[in-house]
């Protein structure tokens, strides 16, 4: 209970200081007139905000320089490195490239350039995982449970900068290959979901009538069950069918998640399709006697690209997180393939060593953070794209 009283005390103190801050700002005669007006018109909450910001700055300073909390320092350093890198990337984009790309970069916020930078890095890492990773993902060494850090005095080994796992596999290599597997499988699944969802959605929009009704009702029923739950149920059945064939389980998982996720794509494609179908040029094409595939591929699809593309980013994040969650629960991508969800689960216990060996405790967070970083990056880019296309200026 003490801790809550302590917080309450601080909240009241910040409130009082905020008022004092505004009060003194109004009393002092500032040299510039703009500052005088600024303090006169300042709402109380803004004054409190200034004081609160100051307190937060102090807390960051305290933990970074005085308390020297290792994880906090890493977090701050990571944040700063990414901020500077994305700023450099943004500046580079503004000055290098064709007229069109330079224009895009000029209007881009820092978060979006961060997102694009991360997506490019991930794409390179997963495509060239075989070249970049020092060892193979299934390669087993004689030294097991080598601690990360690469310092022999602390139980590390310079050959394995992140150490090895309980079977003696190099964790750095597995982290890189894990990216290839997790991102690759999620990408394939999303494409499959879009093929299924968009095909049925456009068919429902053009054919309408009983076909639309039938498919829509099935989709309604599928969407009534929470996705992760239904995926788990279907995977139970799929693993029983697959038996000990691990690759088959992964294939089943891709199909199951693609089908479950295609329901969302179907909804969007159908809604977009219905808006297009009523256009005059569709009427004209129908009167010309064009067949169904021409209508869908040559008339509807080119006009539905933009909303589908933004949805692709969001769906990819969702599929990626679902697969990671399934792997984390032990039912997703199967070993010996490396993947981030399984790595988090296997390494999770090390988090309890944070007091003695921060490097070891960082391992599960590294795998989980790799997942989070990509989804955050994609979401930043999608957010920017949606904001741009909606023309919102608030």
């Amino acid at each position: 209970m003490d801790i809550f009283l302590w917080y309450l005390f601080w909240a009241v103190a910040i409130g009082i200081f905020g008022w004092v801050f505004r009060f003194t700002g109004r009393k002092v005669q500032w040299p510039s007139d703009r500052l005088n007006v600024y303090f006169r018109d300042m709402p109380l909450m803004v004054g409190i905000g200034f004081v609160f910001g100051l307190v937060i700055l102090y807390v960051v300073f305290h933990y970074y320089f005085i308390d020297k909390s290792t994880f906090f320092r890493w977090a701050v350093q990571g944040f700063l490195i990414f901020a500077i890198a994305s700023w450099l990337f943004l500046t580079l984009g503004k000055h290098v490239g064709t007229q069109a790309t330079r224009k895009v970069f000029r209007q881009m916020p820092l978060t979006a350039s961060f997102g694009i930078l991360i997506i490019i890095i991930y794409a390179i890492l997963s495509v060239f995982a075989g070249v970049i990773a020092p060892y193979g993902q299934e390669e087993i060494f004689e030294k097991i449970n080598v601690l990360p850090g690469g310092d022999p005095a602390l139980g590390g080994d310079p050959r394995f900068p992140l150490g090895t796992d309980q079977l003696g596999r190099d964790l750095l290599s597995r982290l890189i290959y894990g990216g290839q597997n997790t991102v690759g499988i999620a990408f394939i699944t999303t494409i499959l979901a879009f093929l299924i969802g968009a095909t049925f959605g456009f068919l429902a929009a053009t054919l309408s009538g009983w076909f639309d009704q039938a498919v829509s009702r099935v989709v309604d029923a599928l969407m009534a069950i929470p996705q992760l739950i239904f995926a788990l149920l279907l995977l139970t059945i799929a693993t029983a069918w697959a038996g000990s064939n691990k690759e088959l389980i992964t294939v089943y998982m891709v199909v199951i998640i693609a089908v479950l996720d295609s329901t969302r794509v179907f909804r969007l494609a159908r809604a977009v399709g219905f808006n297009i179908v009523v256009m005059d040029y569709i009427e004209a094409a129908k009167l010309r006697g064009e067949n169904l595939s021409y209508l869908i591929f040559r008339e509807i699809l080119p006009n539905a690209y933009a909303p589908l593309l933004a949805e692709f980013g969001l769906r990819f994040c969702f599929v990626f997180l679902t697969i990671a969650a399934l792997s984390f629960l032990g039912i997703g991508i199967q070993p010996p393939l490396a993947d981030w969800g399984t790595m988090v689960r296997d390494l999770a216990q090390f988090i309890n060593f944070a007091q003695f060996s921060p490097h070891t405790a960082a391992l599960p967070l590294m795998a989980a953070g790799a997942i989070a970083l990509l989804t955050v990056a994609v979401n930043f880019v999608v957010d920017w794209m949606l904001h741009k296309s909606s023309g919102l200026k608030d």
């Binding site: 149920l233 309890n352 989070a372």
Partner: protein, 333 residues
Amino acid sequence: MKAVVLIILNRLALGVVTLFAVSVLIFAAVNMLPGDFAQAILGQGATEEAIEAIREDLGLNKNAIVRYTDWLGGILKGDFGVSFAQANFSSFAGEDTSKGGIGSVAAQLEPRFKNTLFLAGVAAIIAVPLSLILGIMAALYRNSIFDRFVNISTLSSISSPEFFLAYVLILFLAVLNPILPSLSNIYAEMTFPDRLHKTLLPALTLTLVVMAHMMRMTRAAIINLLASPYIEMARLKGLKPARVIIFHALPNALAPIINVIALNLAYLVTGVVVVEVVFVYPGIGQLFVDSVKIRDIPVVQACCLVFAAAYILLNLTADIFSILSNPRLRHPK
């Protein structure tokens, strides 16, 4: 008034139909399993007679439609069948499972369901007021540093996986500064403060996931309204910005906000699975994952149905509340 009751009844009927469709879907999915339950219980080396006996006992020799109606009839009476893992000899020897013996799924489900409700409840109590206040403040001071900070941090926390947030919280609140326990071993005889203390960390994780969504949608709903003429009128009258938002914009934004709250509580239902596994919280999500691993089909089936029912119910509530709070929805064109 009559129209409202009619619409609500209509929605309820639709909910029941959906639930029925879902139960058919789950039953059909489970029946696609290779082999049958009897084989699954006894394993590969079972004799033909033993399998036949259990098949007889569970009614597996009947056809699918009869079995489905039996299953559904049992559920309506609160009998979810017998768990494979907990099954003992007596439960197959004709003991009535509807009384809730040790082997029955219902007996396993009930305490865990209460635990999960407790966890989701604690998360909701923290998340709802906090996200409303933050959302309103972000709308009030939009495009300020505060708004941008809140926007970026909520977008990040929405897109991170639950287990990442959970482990970060464990690292800072349980390992480095031991304030809260990282394992929530809850049992029935616990006092309320003790139970709350053990539930707080998983509840905080869920709060982070759900709060971001609710806050963003509250902000969007209010900003959307701020463009309407009557708000401009209020502003031109010289009212304070806070008054404009709280007394003029908020009542009209209530419908979308209630909708958002209910939808996010429905989201809690799925989010709860991963979080319960991370914190080893004895809830229904943990039970579900454990049963999936050992292929305890009756439990999986029952959990799936319970999750779906909760999901449908919350979506239905969202629907009904938004109709109640917005008279325009009562008269569909």
